[in-house]
Every structure is written in structure tokens, then in C-alpha cells.
């Protein structure tokens, strides 16, 4: 990569590679480094010893280091930083890197490598880090010359945080971290092969506004890009100004306040009837920072064929997200925030106004879909319903907590029933769907916002995938609340087996579960077991009252409960199964 750099500062201090790493992280204003030491990173750990620029958080497994850094990044918008050793350190980290990659989360991952002379010799704890991680990073580097180290780390932060964000990995051989170089940290880097578009094309934006104002049945579909692009305020203003219905993907929740009546709920495989039907039947669709993925629109040919006259406007910072699964009529490549600002100005200045009569009829139509009350569940049941737990969690935290989740049914219930009014409050693995993220996500969030309520909604299967981090929570005093919706099943697997595999529950029952209360206590935390609906609220209140303790709430829920509505895989988004259909 060609760079326009000032000549190497001859006046810079002479530092070891390891010291350079620490200084670069300091220059970047890094608060936390999540990591785990090992042979290839020992020089770097030596340089970390005693420094005060950032806190190092020692996890219990490298996967959790990545998830915690990822959770920190999702909640703050700042890049997360992780540090792991070569070989198994890296391979353990790969799940975390891929998780961040799929959801476009900015991370800088520093990995140790065997000494340069040993690379390729199958040395102890050697793996081809750059090769293994290539398909799941935005970019990666192997630094073979200590003089290139500082500029490479600068590039890593630049690439990770600009355009469509993503994880960037810097692999540092052990000898490079021991060698010395003059330290110079540039303010800026320029890469000739990398210059993400910011401003949207003004002609396209005009066309988009025209279409939106002429719409009879408009719909605004919001994805994680609005959260990542910090465009929540602009989006909210746009939706309210137009008074159009708005839906959000799993990753977009909170970008527009769920308490606003214009919000028709999440869309997609477990979206609401009103959101999915409005998507399918609208005449103008504005997609903002979203990617029409399989869990959102289901079968793309059904989506297209069911409504061939629908016009689609698509705003995204990544051109490759546009027209990938669905042909769009007005593509706009740019930063969602900048594009929305331009659109707002045009709408405010426009002589045309939305067609009030058509809009009223459209809202009436949406009202009939809403009246189906597709999220209803049995509130009189004698067994705890998981949806009820989430509703109570929302109530007790006043809808203002940071909620992390793992992956499965509990994730969907949290998404449906915790009504997020703010962006960056809902922290979950959408794209990769990684079980085990919830607890380390909560650690990253709690470190960033020590005074905020942080709860992890999890299940008895997911939580066991990173349970060892209860130890990290003890060490760093991270009083998060774990809400374990314990149905003794891998619930979502069980649900699919019930619907599509003739009730053959192959390997989805979790036999021999631990006593989670005792387990929490063994790690030095508070454990509580709840098995009656009447006790849920009290237990949640008590847990949040224990401000300085991690509380593990093991809540025994209905084993047979399913997530509704559901669009079966490969079906069209209006082909939903509702609870009442069964």
C-alpha cells in the first residue's frame, strides 16, 4: 500500500515493537484491551505491565476476549481492541472475529505470531493467522518489519472504523515485538485503494425524495447501519416528519423508538404481522442501512414476485449491499447520516406533501394487521412464560437498560418484547448467530458504562458456551444481571424440530444441567432460582437492587413455548405461521 507519509521522524523515541503497540493504543485513546497472554505476545504483555494508558481485561478464553471487545464496540461506537497469542489463541478468537465481521463491528485485533524466521516451519503454536482470518476480517496485516508497526496499527484503526466498519487484524511476530524502531504515530493515513464514499449522489437523493412523497403505501425499513452510522436522530426526524410506518431489523432495534406509534415492530422471520405485511404490500420502500438478508425478507423471488410494482430506495455505505438479493430502483451509496440529512432538507423544502388520504387508508390497513395482536401469549399460565419475563425486565429497568443476549428463542423474545427506545442498547449477534456471546458482551458493556443497568438475556444452552467468564466478572467486579430463560432445551432447535422434523427432538434436550444457582455461587456471585410466575417480578427487582453483585437468575420457563410469528426458511415474508394457526 502506497502512503503519503511524512518522512520518518528521526527525532522519535526509540522503542521496542511491544512498546510501540502500547503507545499506538494510547494514541488511539483505547480504554480497554481484552486479552489472554501466551508465548508469542509476552513482549507485548511485558510492555503492558505497569503502564497506565489503558486497562487490560484478562478473560478466561480468547473467544470471550473478542466478544467482550465487540460488546464494548457495539455499546459505545468506539473500536474494540483484543490481544491474543499465536496458534490456539488465534483459532479460539476466530469465532469472535467472524461474529463482529458479520455485524460490521469495528475491532482491532492484535495477535502474536511465531518469530519471522520460524514462520512456515510448523513451529510451536504456529498457525497461518492471516490465512485463517482472511475471510472474516475487513482486512488483516502481518508485520514483518518493526519500522512498519506503528503505521500498520494506524491503518488498522482507520480501516476498522471508516466506511462499513469491521474487524481488522494485525499479526505481530515475536521478534518484531522485541526489535526497536523510532516511534512516530501519524495523525492520518491515506490508502489509495481505500476511500469509502460519504456523500450520497444528489440526483439519486432527489429521485428518492420524489418517490417517497408520491407514495400511497410507504414503508421505512431500518437496519443496523443506522445504529452503526449514528443516524438515529436523523432517521427518527424523517419518520416523524413523513408520518410513515417504520420497521427495524434485529440489528436496527432502537434506531427509531419502539414506543412511537409509527413503529410497527421488528420484521423478518420472527417479525410482526404488521411489519411483514407492510413490507410485502407497500408501494415505496425506503431501506436504510439494511441488507434484505434471508432472515429478513425470506425468499427474494417471493418478495419480488408478490409485489412487482413496488419501488425500492436503498441507502447504504457499502455498494455491495445494494442489489445483492433484491433489485432496487434508486440506490444511494453513502453514509446513512449524511444522506438522511440531505433528504430531510429536500423534504422540508418540497412543495409536495405526502398524500394524506392515501396515508390514512394505509394506516387503517396496518391497523387491521396490528389488530391480529401477533405477539399475544397465554398470560394466565401456571408455568413461567418467557415473554412475561422480558416484559417484566423492560418494566423494572424502565426500558432503559443495556440488554445483551445470546442466540435462540430467548434472543427473539428479547427483541420482540423489550421495547428499545435508544440505539446501542440492544447488543446481540445477528449475522453469525453466535451462541455464547451474551455474557462477554455484557462484560464489555458494563466496563464502558459502569453505572448503567446491564442485563444478559440468555438460555441454559447458550450460557454454557462462555460460562467461564463468570470468573472474569468476579475479578473485575462486573455486576451484570443474567436472566437465564431455562427451558431445558435448545429452544430454537427444538422449535424447528417440532415444526419441520416431526417432533423428533434429536440432541436438543440438555440433560444433566448444572445447578446454576450453585454454579454462580461457586464463582463468587449471587444465584437465584425462580419457578413461579408470581415470583418473577420480585426476583428481578431484588437482582437489580443488588447494585454491586452479579446475579444469576435461573428462571424455569415453559418448555413448549414457541416464538411466533414465524416465516419458515425459504418462504415468503407474508407466509407467517401464527400461534393461533397451530
Amino acid at each position: 500500500m502506497e502512503l503519503k507519509l511524512p518522512p520518518l521522524a528521526e527525532t522519535g523515541e526509540t522503542l521496542t515493537g511491544a512498546e510501540i503497540v502500547v503507545r499506538c493504543l494510547k494514541e488511539e485513546g483505547v480504554e480497554f484491551v481484552f486479552g489472554y497472554p501466551g508465548g508469542a505476545v509476552l513482549h507485548i504483555y511485558d510492555a503492558i505491565f505497569g503502564q497506565k494508558a489503558f486497562h487490560h481485561i484478562l478473560v478466561r478464553h480468547e473467544q470471550a476476549a473478542l466478544h467482550a471487545a465487540d460488546g464494548y464496540a457495539r455499546a459505545t461506537g468506539r473500536p474494540g481492541v483484543a490481544l491474543v497469542t499465536s496458534g490456539p489463541g488465534v483459532t479460539n478468537a476466530v469465532t469472535g472475529i467472524a461474529t463482529a465481521y458479520m455485524d460490521s463491528i469495528p475491532l482491532v485485533v492484535i495477535t502474536g505470531q511465531v518469530p519471522t524466521r520460524a514462520i512456515g516451519e510448523d513451529a510451536f503454536q504456529e498457525c497461518d493467522t492471516v490465512g485463517i482470518t482472511r475471510p472474516c476480517v475487513k482486512h488483516n496485516f502481518l508485520v514483518k518489519d518493526v519500522n512498519e508497526l506503528a503505521i500498520t496499527i494506524k491503518k488498522a484503526f482507520h480501516i476498522a472504523t471508516t466506511g462499513r466498519p469491521g474487524p481488522v487484524l494485525v499479526d505481530i511476530p515475536k521478534d518484531v515485538s522485541a526489535q526497536t524502531a523510532r516511534f512516530h504515530y501519524p495523525d492520518k493515513v491515506h490508502l489509495r485503494s481505500y476511500s469509502p464514499v460519504v456523500k450520497g449522489h444528489s440526483g439519486q437523493i432527489k429521485k428518492a425524495v420524489q418517490l417517497l412523497l408520491e407514495a400511497k403505501r410507504p414503508m421505512i425499513y431500518v437496519g443496523g447501519g443506522v445504529v452503526l452510522g449514528e443516524a438515529s436522530a436523523e432517521l427518527t426526524e424523517l419518520v416523524r416528519l413523513l408520518d410513515y410506518p417504520c420497521t427495524e431489523t434485529l440489528m436496527g432495534l432502537g434506531a427509531f423508538p419502539a414506543s412511537d406509534k409509527r413503529f410497527v415492530g421488528m420484521l423478518g422471520m420472527h417479525g410482526t404481522v404488521e411489519a411483514n405485511m407492510a413490507m410485502q404490500n407497500c408501494d415505496v420502500l425506503l431501506a436504510v442501512g439494511a441488507r434484505f438478508d434471508d432472515r429478513v425478507i425470506g425468499n427474494p423471488s417471493h418478495f419480488a414476485a408478490g409485489n412487482p410494482t413496488r419501488k425500492i430506495v436503498h441507502i447504504d455505505v457499502d455498494p455491495s449491499s445494494i442489489s445483492k438479493r433484491v433489485r432496487v430502483d434508486v440506490p444511494i451509496v453513502g453514509h446513512v447520516k449524511d444522506v438522511l440529512v440531505d433528504m430531510l432538507a429536500l423534504i422540508k423544502g418540497a412543495r409536495e406533501k405526502p398524500d394524506a388520504t392515501a396515508l390514512a387508508a394505509w394506516w387503517d390497513q396496518i391497523g387491521t394487521w396490528r389488530a391480529k395482536d401477533c405477539l399475544k401469549y397465554d398470560r394466565t399460565a401456571a408455568i413461567i412464560k418467557p415473554q412475561y419475563v422480558i416484559e417484566k425486565l423492560w418494566e423494572i429497568t424502565k426500558g432503559d437498560a443495556y440488554i445483551t443476549s445470546d442466540v435462540g428463542q430467548h434472543q427473539m423474545w428479547a427483541a420482540q418484547f423489550y421495547r428499545f427506545d435508544k440505539p446501542r442498547r440492544w447488543i446481540n449477534s445477528g449475522g453469525l448467530g453466535t451462541m455464547g456471546v451474551g455474557l462477554p458482551y455484557a462484560m464489555g458493556v458494563k466496563l464502558a458504562f459502569p453505572d448503567a443497568d446491564v442485563a444478559c438475556v440468555t438460555g441454559e444452552a447458550s450460557i454454557q458456551m462462555c460460562i467461564q467468564e463468570l470468573s472474569t466478572c468476579k475479578q473485575y467486579h462486573l455486576p451484570v444481571k443474567l436472566v437465564n430463560l431455562n427451558n431445558r432445551y435448545m429452544g430454537m432447535v427444538r422449535q424447528w424440530q417440532e415444526f419441520f422434523h416431526g417432533n423428533r427432538y434429536a440432541e436438543s434436550y440438555m440433560d444433566a444441567l448444572p445447578d446454576f444457582v450453585k454454579l454462580a455461587e461457586a464463582y463468587g456471585h449471587v444465584g437465584m432460582r425462580v419457578d413461579k410466575p408470581g415470583d418473577v417480578e420480585g426476583a428481578l427487582r431484588e437482582a437489580f437492587k443488588l447494585k454491586d453483585r452479579l446475579v444469576f437468575l435461573d428462571i424455569i420457563t415453559d418448555q413448549t413455548e414457541n416464538v411466533f410469528p414465524m416465516v419458515p426458511g425459504g418462504k415468503g415474508m407474508s407466509e407467517m405461521i401464527l400461534a393461533e394457526d397451530l
Binding site: 500500500m1 502506497e2 492471516v130 475471510p135 475487513k138 502481518l142 485503494s193 455498494p319 455491495s320
Partner: protein
Amino acid sequence: MRHILSILVENEAGALSRVSGLFSARGYNIESLTVAPTEDATMSRMTIVTTGSDEIVEQITKQLNKLIDVVKVVDLSEGRHIERELMLVKVRAAGKDREEMKRTADIFRGRIIDVTDKSYTIELTGTTDKLDAFLEALDKGAILETVRTGVSGIGRGEWVLKA
């Protein structure tokens, strides 16, 4: 449809695997791929021949542009261009067939660049079509070995692909 993509990439270790990895990871076809340094030592130029619908080729171009090491991507098949491929063929050339083999090579403007008493090695340059036609003109049993470079392409006229 067949497309010829010309790609300027940073002359960095791993740039080739980023490009080829993208094709395999996303299930795109590669008919041929060539890569070599350019007049600018910091860059290499690749020519990739691929097939796919317009939508797929549009995605391929966008995904390639997303790679940090990729400086520029152009679909040569969208405009006037020239493409060439080099082939070396070792053929059986003994007895009465020896003279016929030489004549066929001449017709295709091939050059015989190595000779033994039983074989010729023929060098042939041209479009993929021409090379295919030459192989078809030969008796299949006479072909001992073939090696092809894959297509290299360049735009016609004064237009140049630059960083």
C-alpha cells in the same frame, strides 16, 4: 455470460489469495486468472475471466472493489478490448504426420520452439477461441501436453487502466 475483469492490486503478499479467496468463498467462477507485475512496481495486474449473469458480475466487481488491496477493477468486456492467451502444446510428430503437423501449426501462425525426432513443441498466441480451434484441428491422440497462460486483456485505443 463471459466477462474479462482487469484488476490492479497492491503488490502485497497475500493480495492474490484475497482475490482468489473471494471467488471461492462466494461461489463465483474463475475460468482463468493471470497475474504479474506492472510498469509500477507497487502494483500487480490481474486478468480474471469469469462467467455469470449481469447481477453476479456486478456483485463480483463490487466485492472486488471492497478488498483493501484492490486499487481498481474494470470489466473489459463492457468496451472495446483486445485479449490474448499464450499456449504451449507438445505434440507427437513422427513419420508421415510430421509434415502435416508443421503445416497445421503454420496455418494457425504457431511457432515450433522445440523439436525432437518424435515431437514438436508449438507456441501459439491468440484469443481463447483460436487456441481452442487449433487443439480441435489436431488429432486428439497427437496431443501429448498442453499448457495455457489464461487470458490477458487490455482496452483498445488510448484509454489506460491506471490507479
